[in-house]
Amino acid sequence: MSTMTMAAALNAALRDELAADDSVVLIGEDIGTLGGVFRVTDTLQADFGPQRVIDAPLAESGIIGTSVGMAYRGLRPVCEIQFDGFVYPGFDQLVAQVAKLHYRTRGKVRMPLTVRIPYGGGIGAVEHHSESPEAYFAHTAGLRVVTAASPQEAYQTLRAAIASDDPVIFFEPKGKYWTKGEVDREARADLTTAATVLEGTDATLVAYGPMVATALDAAIAASDEGISLEVIDLRSISPIDRETVAASVRRTGRLIVTHEAAGTASVASEVITGVIEDCFEHLEAAPERVTGYDTPYPPAALEEVFLPNLDRILDAVDRTLGRRDSRSHAPAHVEVSA
């Protein structure tokens, strides 16, 4: 066990996989000499050489497409997309090739790619640097889509993603890169189960990635008002661990789902629809979603308006609990934003 930032935990996971398996190669823009714009690949090229940690030409389709070819020849490419907003030039190779090759070839060809995407906002960045495109990939059959909320999870989930024979889109909450936590490098994770990070009785609050911390803050604030929230970290965005979510909602009867991405046709829509299918009869109130609004991600000066926050979550909690007056949160709000 040792304390490290999430960025360091990801670096450790990559280092340990590179060391453990010769077929693992990293490819991306500026991941070599520079060590990545977030330093997640720092020192890896120096230690494993330019053929295992590859500085790629500036072309995302090329990065994904050549990784498909490398996978054909038995390698396990780990692609880095520098920022969320730059994955779209590689979208065709991801949805038409990476996601489909195993199905297309009836299992003959496996695509054990991992595509690392630093994602999410709240960091005061310029356009295309704060997006949350996970729904596009969750809607795409043939891909696993995962994220992590803590250094420990980042470490073990990235290792599990690289070890998986399925293509995995790994969304790294870049806003949490510098948060610290204990990391046990012996711990292993599966890619399929959600985690109940806080037990509660009044309502189920589902979050993942960067929103898990906010969800826990909301649970604390709610508890000040005698509301007990159960907080679930989805971890796997696709497929979703519907068992864990439904089991919780059966107990609480109430559901709130939150993420940064816009709400329409989103992961929140899916979690809510899944719960409707799994345990409608247990719902005591309409599930609520607290997500980014249906606008493009805005300039930094407006991102606090766009992003779901404590107040919006607590407001939704109130609505599911049939308590309409949100003012009571003003103190909590002041507290937290102080």
């Binding site: 190669v25 053929q51 790629a56 030409p57 072309a59 389709s61 090329g62 994904i64 497409g65 050549t66 990784s67 498909v68 070819g69 490398m70 996978a71 054909y72 020849r73 038995g74 390698l75 030039p89 065709d92 190779q93 038409a96 090739q97 195993h102 199905y103 297309r104 070839t105 009836r106 299992g107 003959k108 060809v109 496996r110 059959a141 043939g142 696993r144 998986s164 024979d165 399925d166 399929t192 497929p239 979703i240 661990d241 519907r242 068992e243």
Partner: protein
């Protein structure tokens, strides 16, 4: 840095003015300084084998078109007219070279041991993949234009990193030259000095669009801008393609990086069986190219060499008839996949959501069994 970079080798492209050729349209063998040294193994037997290969794949193509008409196939993209380009290429590749084709390279599949019915199964709609890519060292048909070129570049990068000397070969058409992926594949191949052969069959059309819609200059010029040497060859001259392929593969295998071949040919048939070329090209053009037919050309050449043409023709016919016969019986005997296989191979491991969907589908099917009503 580029400021101190040397200008490109002037011999970066050969055949721009006139595609490289050793067999004239009448089948006369012309001597060729660049190509002849790579054709020293050509004897009557080799020529006969090439003729038989081309005849058989043309027959498979004809059978497929007929089977589509009869409703046995949903669609078929004929290779008619491109036999020399494909046979000239594949017959001098090494068995461990890996091929990344588009959807029209039936001759490559045939020469890699794929049964005709395996090829056709994809176009019958029973599967997306007719053979094991690893067994044949050939990926199955790629429909997204240009996508496979990046796969080949990546495969070649991996081969180079592994210190192996096999090469990757990717086939694509004139239309694919416009896709970002094809150009990015040249970027990566050039940047990583990847052992990959870009083989462009310029059959003059992308469905209805003549190659002039894609580029006002010869295709073989494009790779030179990426620092990739190119050969522009008469794609209806099987010996020219064979020699060019040898030049390119020797260059690539010797560690000199990627190469590009533009095989100038012609799609004598429709784009696919659902296309009607009369809407966009005239008979005169078709006639002009018919006179350049690659199979007739080789046949004439065999005559000129005094080879036993009649017995070779007979041999080709026998082989083709066999293939056609077994193909027909195999295709009509082909049973559709079991319905529940819809749910297989999405992920390599179980997925609760999909399992649940599968179970629900099974229950519904169960409830709908005729005897149940």
């Amino acid at each position: 840095m580029s400021t101190t970079m040397s200008p490109p080798d002037p011999s970066l492209v050969e055949g721009l003015d006139e595609p490289l050729q050793v067999l004239t349209a009448d089948g006369e063998r012309r001597s060729h300084e660049l190509l002849d040294p790579h054709l020293t193994d050509i004897d009557d037997q080799t020529l006969a084998n090439l003729f038989i290969d081309m005849s058989v794949v043309r027959r498979i193509d004809e059978e497929a078109v007929a089977l589509q008409r009869q409703g046995e196939l949903g669609l078929w993209p004929p290779l008619l007219g491109q036999e020399a380009a494909q046979i000239g290429l594949v017959r001098v590749l090494r068995d461990d070279d890996f091929l990344f084709p588009s959807y029209r390279e039936h001759a490559l599949a045939w020469c890699r041991g794929v049964a005709a019915e395996e090829m056709l199964s994809v176009w019958r709609g029973t599967t997306y993949t007719g053979w094991d890519p690893y067994e044949r060292r050939m990926a199955t048909p790629q429909i997204i234009i240009g996508a496979q070129t990046l796969h080949a570049a990546g495969y070649a990068m991996a081969a180079r990193f592994a210190g192996a000397d096999e090469i990757a070969v990717t086939c694509f058409g004139d239309g694919a030259m416009s896709q970002g992926d094809t150009n990015e594949a040249m970027v990566f191949a050039s940047a990583f000095h990847a052992p990959v052969l870009f083989f462009c069959q310029n059959n003059q059309y992308a469905i209805s669009e003549p190659v002039s819609v894609q580029t006002p200059v010869p295709i073989a010029l494009r790779p030179t801008g990426f620092g990739i040497p190119a050969l522009r060859v008469d794609g209806n001259d099987v010996l020219a393609v064979r020699a060019a392929t040898r030049i390119a593969t020797e260059h690539i295998r010797s560690g000199k990086g990627p190469m590009f071949i533009e095989a100038v040919t012609y799609r004598m048939g429709p784009h696919t069986t659902s296309d009607d070329p009369k809407r966009y090209r005239d008979q005169a053009e078709l006639d002009k190219w018919s006179r350049r037919c690659p199979v007739t050309r080789l046949e004439k050449h065999l005559q000129s060499t005094g080879a036993p043409v009649d017995s070779i023709r007979a041999e080709a016919k026998t082989r083709s008839d066999e293939v056609a016969r077994s193909l027909r019986s195999a295709i009509t005997a082909m049973s559709p996949p079991e319905p529940q296989t819809l749910f297989d191979h999405v992920l390599t491991t179980g997925d609760a959501t999909l399992q649940r969907q599968r179970r629900h589908w099974e229950q519904l099917e169960e409830s709908l069994l005729p005897e149940a009503s």
